[in-house]
Subunit: 343 residues, 2 copies
DNA sequence: TTCACAAATGCAAACGCTTGCATTATTCTT
DNA sequence: AAGAATAATGCAAGCGTTTGCATTTGTGAA
């Protein structure tokens, strides 16, 4: 495997010059640059990242911490991050905290500290003070995606506003018996997502002067089956069946759609359903939703990171950027049916 | 940030000894080991991976190459790999080849060559000869998951056998008008998966003396919507509607289930459906399937890798291990309905 | 042409580890 | 108890880059 010395010799210059060309420090003449590049090509030379990392302190590698990989949102953010990083010549080292405690512990106390990464992107990670402190001690850029982190530039949607918008959409269609399926408590760890979305829901309701009915509140685990089960309970509520459901995620909303079908409840004539995400299956199911685009969020996180890596002042300006979301109208919501007072 | 010298001084030993303790070379006395470990803990010392990598040539990092992240199979393999690697103290650097050509090119010609990884795991990647040669030139262990690779230890299921088993299951239930939804041609790149599964299907059919009917062959893109559309076409075939469908993936099979529901075709009374994967949604949909467990496959790939990294002879023995799969009976298949000869 | 200054290049000392070899401490034999 | 063998440790030379500083080359002005 060729080393920088081989290249230098081959091009008839010093290793310093080769290094400068490869890192394009702009102080090398055109002629020399070309010679070096030729030598590089001829020898199939690729720099050793270890050596470069050791000497410069820069690894050209970004750590990405994610709670798990199998959820739609995470997967898509990671893909966005990955593709953007590739364009910048960076590698992505993935830390998936699947099993909660155990791996989480070692990732924060060991893996991230090996000086393998120049920066880290934390996806939907509510970090403990200790973890945050550890990351800060690294003195490397850190950006969060999916929720606010104290003192860290983050990207996130406004969950309260999103939920409010979804609910208001239903209200504007004349619905008053609106159910909500929120996330179960174990998802609170993700920036209180269930609570926030529920808050938006309740806010919209109370603004419209609609009284919240306890029995119109369900919760599930953000999956299709979870949404299905929750919807089943809600929809069997015979004397006060909702005419609309706002599910805190598209997957749960799809579960609602399937439940309605199994109960022979027509959507949207008898039941409107709205979700959040614009999941890849939503279009297929004709689901009206508030869309967010995690792929884009991932790319944007990289932009922020690159900027931070460029200027060495840890520019504390862009604390929490709120990402825009968009109401996507499809076939699952419509005018509320006339209320059948007999039920 | 503490360096190995600090630790050495703090423990009153040489850096060599510290290094030995940390890499547990078994030649350090118990006493000394303890002293060193204490110093490490006190100083919160974590080794620099760059320095270690440069000096030893080992990075404790594995490259994982995957075609994309959003498909169930890939995500799960990666999760399996990640969790196993973590246990071994290895990092995982992810290369997702989403946009085909562009990134693929740079990953193979540049990223993987930076000596950032000790080995690579290629997931469902049919590699070109050139790419394979490049990887071999690295002289680092390589294991493939998802399909055979010439001269490389790989893990994969026997697609032909799986398809045969699925089809035989339907035949054993008395079905003779069996349709198949295979993958479209662009998925051929994944080790001819569509072709192989179709071959198994046709093999089982011909063994049973059942004539294959052209109009009972569909194809789709391995997604739920794709399966839905394909099934719609198949099931509208009024004069020769299939009584069973074997879909090349669970997602497509779920599409079939949804199509059947929309057409008011009862499953399994009027239509049996079987898929392949044991996707996380399959249980919910009551889908009979041939299960494989990608998570497990990922872990197993790591086992092989660790073994290869341990012994320096690139043990060429375990070329392509065939993974076991399992018929999982659920509610979507049953005895064939009596044939209505009037249709 | 010469000089001053800027641009281009080279020199060589880090960077923080690992490891072969040499040295010292310990244990076992006889 | 002495010597041999073995275990534990230390020394110091790399590993392949980057980069501050010194040096050489090139340029424009006088």
């Amino acid at each position: 495997m060729a080393s920088i010395d081989d290249v230098a010799r081959h091009a008839g210059v010093s290793t310093a010059t080769v290094s400068r060309v490869l890192n394009n420090t702009r102080t090398v003449s055109e002629k020399t640059t070309e010679k070096v590049l030729n030598a590089v090509a001829e020898l199939d030379y690729v720099m050793s990242s270890s050596a470069s990392g050791l000497a410069s302190g820069r690894t050209k590698n970004i750590g990405v911490v994610v709670p798990e990989l199998t959820r739609w949102y995470f997967t898509n953010v990671v893909e966005g991050v990955e593709s953007a990083l590739l364009e910048h010549g960076y590698d992505l080292t993935l830390y998936s905290l699947n099993d909660g405690g155990a791996s989480r512990q070692s990732v924060f106390s060991h893996f991230l500290l090996r000086q393998r990464v120049d920066a880290v992107i934390a996806i939907s990670q509510e970090l403990t003070d200790d973890e945050l402190a550890r990351l800060r001690a690294l003195n490397k850029p850190l950006v969060g995606v999916g929720g606010p982190l104290p003192g860290v530039p983050t990207l996130s949607i406004d969950d309260v506003a999103v939920a409010r918008q979804a609910t208001e959409h239903l209200i504007s269609l004349g619905h008053t018996r609106i159910a909500h399926i929120s996330g179960t408590v174990e998802f609170e760890a993700d920036f209180h997502l269930p609570t926030n979305r529920r808050a938006g829901f309740e806010g919209a309701l109370s603004d419209a002067g609609i009284k919240l009915h306890e029995r119109l509140l369900g919760s599930a685990d953000f999956t299709i089956p979870g949404g299905y089960t929750a919807a089943m309970t809600l929809l069997k509520e015979t004397d006060h069946r909702p005419t609309a459901i706002f599910a805190a995620s598209d997957e749960m909303a799809i579960g609602c759609l399937l439940a309605a079908k199994d109960l022979n409840i027509r959507v949207p004539e008898e039941l409107s359903v709205i979700g959040v995400d614009n999941h890849s299956l939503s279009e297929f199911f004709g689901l009206t939703t508030i869309g967010q685009s995690p792929h884009q969020q991932g790319r944007q996180a990289v932009d922020i990171l690159m900027q931070a890596l460029g200027s060495d002042h840890p520019s504390e300006e862009n604390i929490n950027t709120t990402l825009k979301t968009e109401l996507i109208l499809r076939a699952s919501t419509s005018q509320a049916p006339p209320i059948d007072w007999n039920r």
